[in-house]
């Protein structure tokens, strides 16, 4: 396993439940069982052009988790000249298992956490380099 870092960037939009689900998936990847492997980073910091953040991204595999078709996380990362190793669209993952429909942006509920787990599994399976 190369020592290239894996960085997960959720859109964490505040307008929709999917933004919170993207955050929850990032939490599960970076703070629980896969702590050593996956890190995260502030998306707004990237867009503000924080050089340190950009340089780190350029040397890592970047996984974006977007909450809606506007794909802000993916767009913002590509705009600073970094290509995305894997793009996950939350609604697409939900379409495969509509049981895991999240609650509201305030509380995604048990199903929301399960949806986040589906996203984590998708990244672990397809994302390994």
């Amino acid at each position: 396993m190369s020592d290239v870092k894996k960085i997960v960037i959720p859109c964490s939009g505040i307008g929709k439940a999917f933004g919170t689900v993207a955050r929850e998936a990032t939490y599960q990847l970076t703070e629980t069982d896969h702590q050593s492997e996956y890190k995260t980073m502030c998306l707004p910091l990237l867009v503000a052009g924080d050089q340190e953040a950009i340089d780190l991204l350029k040397k890592s595999n970047v996984y974006t988790i977007d909450g809606c078709p506007k794909k802000c996380a993916t767009l913002s990362v590509e705009r600073i000249g970094v290509n995305v190793a894997m793009e996950v669209m939350v609604p697409k993952v939900l379409a495969q298992n509509t049981e895991h429909k999240p609650g509201s942006v305030l509380d995604i509920g048990r199903n929301g956490v399960l949806l986040a787990k589906d996203i984590v599994n998708k990244i672990l399976e397809e994302g390994s380099d």
Partner: protein, 135 residues
């Protein structure tokens, strides 16, 4: 439906520090519970990525930015892509910011609940003030 202008609230969505989570939680409290009809959700990533609706709104209506750390991405982003925010809140100015523990980053802990409430009330005061001026 009051004719007073609505206020857009733009919260930092920082993942990497507890401040981001706290400012997000306080903002949601204001948007959904405290002032649902007077405020509008502005999603910072969409705003920065170029949301036409979001930017159009931020140009024509007053905005409050809530930043979870000193980098002030919400305030800077708003000024750059539309107009200077009416009010800029920085969580670092709150004295119990330094006592935030790292695990606050993802889930609000008991200990920071009152900071969230305090921040939410400050936002509400600003919202009411802004709307009163424009009466």
């Amino acid at each position: 439906m009051s004719e007073l202008p609505k206020v857009g609230i733009i919260s930092c969505s920082g993942e990497d520090c507890p401040g981001g989570n706290i400012s997000r939680e306080a903002t949601l409290r204001v948007l959904h519970d405290l002032r649902p009809d007077e405020t509008v959700t502005i999603c910072l990533p969409l705003f920065l990525a170029g949301g036409e609706g979001e930017r159009g709104f931020a140009k024509r209506f007053p905005t409050i930015t809530v930043d979870g750390c000193g980098k002030l991405c919400a305030a800077i982003g708003t000024a750059r892509f539309s107009s200077k925010p009416t009010v800029e809140i920085n969580l670092e100015d709150y004295d119990d910011f330094s006592s935030l523990k790292i695990e606050e980053k993802w889930h609000i802990q008991e200990s920071s609940k009152d900071l969230v409430e305090k921040l939410a009330n400050d936002i509400v005061n600003h919202v009411d003030e802004i709307r009163k001026i424009s009466e």
